[in-house]
């Protein structure tokens, strides 16, 4: 699969572990739910015994086969998602573009960045991954503008690069304004 590469992604790459992490995250909920259903079924069949107990094994096999296929399908989709994930810190803007089927792209000017933070959910901690979030003054940017699934070095690098660029841009603007004000 062709990777959506950029200078930023080369420098601060998205970890391949993200593919497995997202696959597990999606499958976990389904696995737990089906496990609960199966336990209830097994217990009730155990009590009734006889014929109904006989179908427990084929049903279990069917559930396991379904889970396995679903796991594979999720893995393939997450690999596709990982390849298409694009982020770039250009001279003037931060561009993040995601989603293989219904692409969503967000562009934020550096001067509008209000907030940069890094976090990890439970599975991230297990895999050693970090999510870098940035937002401007809108709720939608807080929800969409994030680069998730980078390892520590890339997360620190991205955070540092973003902070430095934002500060540099703001002081450049301030100096330009001061200069233009003083000549007025």
């Amino acid at each position: 699969m062709k990777i959506a590469m950029s200078k930023t992604r080369e420098q601060f790459p998205l970890s391949e572990k993200k593919i497995m992490k997202k696959t597990i995250k999606v499958n976990l909920a389904l696995d737990i739910m089906l496990l609960v259903v199966w336990v209830i079924m097994a217990v009730s069949m155990g009590f009734s015994g006889g014929v109904s107990a006989g179908i427990l094994v084929p049903v279990t096999m069917a559930i396991l086969a379904f889970l396995f296929l679903f796991f594979l399908a999720t893995y393939v989709y997450q690999k596709w998602y990982w390849s298409v994930y694009f982020y770039d810190l250009t001279d003037d803007f931060i561009i993040i573009k995601k989603h293989p089927i219904t692409p969503k792209e967000i562009t934020i000017p550096y001067e509008r960045v209000q907030d940069i933070y890094v976090d990890q959910d439970l599975l991230d901690r297990f895999f050693g991954l970090y999510d870098v979030h940035l937002s401007s003054a809108t709720i939608a940017s807080g929800m969409e503008a994030h680069i998730d699934g980078v390892e520590k070095q890339a997360a620190d690098g991205l955070r540092k690069a973003l902070l430095e660029t934002v500060q540099r841009r703001i002081s450049k603007n301030r100096n330009q304004n001061l200069n233009s004000n003083s000549t007025n």
């Binding site: 003037d92 803007f93 089927i101 219904t102 692409p103 969503k104 792209e105 967000i106 562009t107 934020i108 000017p109 550096y110 001067e111 509008r112 960045v113 209000q114 940069i116 401007s136 003054a137 809108t138 709720i139 939608a140 940017s141 929800m143 969409e144 503008a145 902070l163 934002v166 500060q167 703001i170 603007n173 301030r174 330009q176 304004n177």
Partner: protein
């Protein structure tokens, strides 16, 4: 430089196909449902609404990329006009839902920090279809993908040319 020409919705119009988006989806849904022996007649009643409302909305939506402001005029029954300074644009979204992806269209959305940055309404799927300015955003759905990209680049250029006096960031 050709900067004298004012860019308006005539240069990057909402595609005619956008008018038929909901009817096409309803037809497809019914075709698929028929395979399962079901049918949604009620939805077909919505056709006239879309086929009358959408052209009117599209016809009454105007925008122009002025020197310092993005001017948006819209409204079929009640008219409204908004001026958005480029300097306060917070983010620019370019997205394609499934229909748009298949038919080569895209939606461009520009957000500013008005109305608490959109805190009151988290954007829903329905809101994606609303044309024009509402709340903290200007939404232009149904653009051809190339038009959407060019318009996005033009707006980003205007943002770059119009920095604010004071920075918005607390950093």
């Amino acid at each position: 430089m050709e900067n004298n020409k004012l860019i308006t919705e005539k240069d990057y119009p909402i595609a005619t196909l956008w008018i038929f988006k909901a009817p096409i989806i309803i037809i497809l849904m019914n075709v698929v449902a028929l395979f399962f022996g079901r049918y949604f007649p009620v939805l077909v009643l919505a056709f006239p609404v879309y086929l009358i409302a959408n052209p009117l909305i599209r016809g009454n939506f105007h925008y122009s990329l002025g020197e310092k402001f993005l001017l948006v005029k819209q409204g079929v029954i009640s008219k409204k006009q908004r001026n958005l300074p480029y300097g306060v644009i917070q983010n620019v979204f370019l997205r394609q839902d499934l229909f748009e992806r298949i038919f080569g269209l895209a939606t461009l959305r520009i957000e500013n920090a008005a109305q608490a940055g959109g805190a009151r309404n988290v954007p829903t799927q329905q809101e994606q279809e609303n044309v024009g300015a509402s709340g903290n955003k200007v939404n232009i759905p149904g653009l051809k993908k190339q038009d959407a990209e060019e318009l996005r680049n033009l707006i980003l250029k205007k943002i770059k040319e119009n920095p604010l006096e004071d920075s918005q960031s607390g950093l």
